[in-house]
Amino acid sequence: MEILVCAKRVPDTSENEIQLNSAGNDIERDELVYSINEPDNYAVEEALQIRDRIGGNVTVVTVGGEDDEEILRREMAMGANQAALLTDDAFTGSDGRGIAAILSAFVQRGHYDLILTGVQAEDGAAQVGGMLAAMLDYPFASLVNSVEVLDGGKLKVSREIEGGNTELNEIDLPCVLSVQTGINEPRYVGMKGIRQVASVPIPTLSSSDLGIDQNSVGHSAAKVRRVDYFVPALGKGAEILQGSHEEIAGKLIELMKAKGGLN
């Protein structure tokens, strides 16, 4: 099975405090630790496991710039067969629709049975996979938490729905799935593995390579644009207990006793 995984390099929220820059039009990006978007990493692991069960190839693709190549290399160290970087100044400022259009052009240059994305990235939009599927006229399932390959060009996939329940579906190939975290246990990637793929060439493709009209993507074509960022003020906020750990623990115990927290 030929599997494509669409991945994104994002600021790692478990490693960073996200703060606004002084102009308020972006987050402060200096010194941020970036990594592969966590759900995308689960998607790559799922692709590798399917390939290892039934054979085939796994390709990882991203839309971005030079800096984004590092996640492609990381996923190759995990075991992906190949990678591609879709990069062009004309892609800058694309909205979700633009990113999906760029990926769609890439998909149409090759032959993929299965396309995976992570369920969402740092912007929480959960949009590119569903858009890509609609552009390709492929069936789509979101929030996928297990994949079983059936005979006859079909998959059995389960989706995570409310209350911890799962919804079982049959879906025709080729299709697009957005993968939920927890679907598997992504393998560890060590420095040694990264070094082994350090010099593997990763092809880059531009808008002309992909046959994309530059006016159809990027900032000028984006119908959805971020104006600025601000820090939300929800509710009154917590009363922050101050003092030594011992003092705080004492205050907290009094509060919990009053509220029925100690049984």
Partner: protein, 327 residues
């Protein structure tokens, strides 16, 4: 002004609670809006849900068909793409069905898409001004969406309080015949109900809940000791289940359990809306997190900025001392 529609899910003949929130959101876009609800389904359950919506919508569009007995996002998408007038704004709940439906629908209707919206500042010309969150709620973003060719907007459940409006005495308009045959590459098989865990966290008055901040599986013992000392039960947020450190039955959140304790002690939980959506009944919430900017501090009653691995054992020791003194 574009015409505004709300896609309303329903179950067992009852519209989803989010319906009234979608209508409230529609009136944030246009205070004079008379949003049209669209319901898709089959049988008497659909009719019952439609007639209930006529109390709050002047017009309810009904699309009936046996293939809609269970909502299949691909079929619903195709149906909506056929019936929606060009240039419409469609509001959808940002839930597991909306996530399945909305992005592809925006492509098929050639309209703009913004997901998980929790604030609407209004319409200026063709620009709809919206507010959403990024980075797990650590920052909010103002977004401008060009609605000149319509839009699909998914709305975060709980973000738009329902309003009371005069009874609409609306009508149900059947749109089923506009469809023609529809096929889907995805077929619903069945729903698997979550297995019960060893404890039922939904019935516990006091929960000690751990998140990513616990760092390692071995550190769970620290939280378990605190829970034991308090007479509480251990629950968790999603990353702990994803890492297989605790069973899924212990997960609080929109994809886990909905809990309603009296006291909720959130340890190393950042406070994503998916997690907070699983906490009901306004418990006394205590948040312990080493990141002072964690969103959980905005909703907690009491906050402690500390390293869990240092603070939790201290708290456990103090509670044990108290227990001994009482005895």
């Amino acid at each position: 002004m574009p015409r505004i529609f709300a896609y309303v899910s329903h179950k067992d003949g009852v519209p989803d609670d989010v319906a009234s929130e979608l209508l409230a959101a529609a009136r944030k876009i246009d205070p004079a809006a008379s949003p049209t609800a669209i319901l898709i389904g089959a049988g008497p359950e659909l009719d019952s849900a439609c007639s209930q919506l006529t109390a709050s919508c002047a017009e309810v569009w009904r699309i009936a068909g046996e293939s809609f007995a269970y909502p299949n996002a691909e079929l619903v998408r195709k149906a909506l793409a056929r019936v929606l007038p060009p240039g419409s704004i469609l509001l959808v709940a940002h839930d597991h069905f909306g996530i399945d439906l909305s992005p592809g629908l925006s492509v098929k209707t050639n309209s703009s898409f913004v997901s998980d919206v929790l604030g609407i500042e209004g319409l200026e010309g063709n620009d709809l001004r919206l507010i959403r969150q990024e980075f797990g709620g650590q920052v909010s973003a103002r977004v401008r969406c060009d609605v000149s060719s319509g839009a699909v907007i998914s709305i975060r459940p709980g973000a738009f309080p329902p309003q009371t409006n005069p009874p609409a005495n609306g009508i149900v308009v059947d749109k089923s015949s506009d469809l023609g045959p529809l096929t889907a590459g995805r077929r619903y098989l069945r729903t698997i109900v979550a297995e019960a865990g060893d404890v039922d966290i939904t019935r516990q008055p006091v929960l000690v809940s751990v998140g990513r901040g616990i760092q390692e599986k071995d550190n769970l013992a620290i939280a378990q000791e605190l829970a034991d000392a308090m007479g509480a039960v251990l629950s968790c947020s999603r990353p702990v289940v994803d890492a297989n450190w605790l069973d899924k039955s212990r997960q609080v959140g929109s994809s886990g359990k909905t809990v309603k304790p009296k006291v909720y002690l959130a340890c190393g939980i950042s406070g994503s809306f998916q997690h907070l959506a699983g906490i009901k009944g306004n418990p006394f919430m205590i948040a312990i997190n080493k990141n002072p900017k964690a969103p959980i501090f905005q909703v907690a009653d009491v906050g402690i900025v500390a390293d869990l691995l240092e603070f939790l054992p201290e708290l456990t020791t103090r509670i044990r001392e108290l227990r001994c003194a009482v005895r």
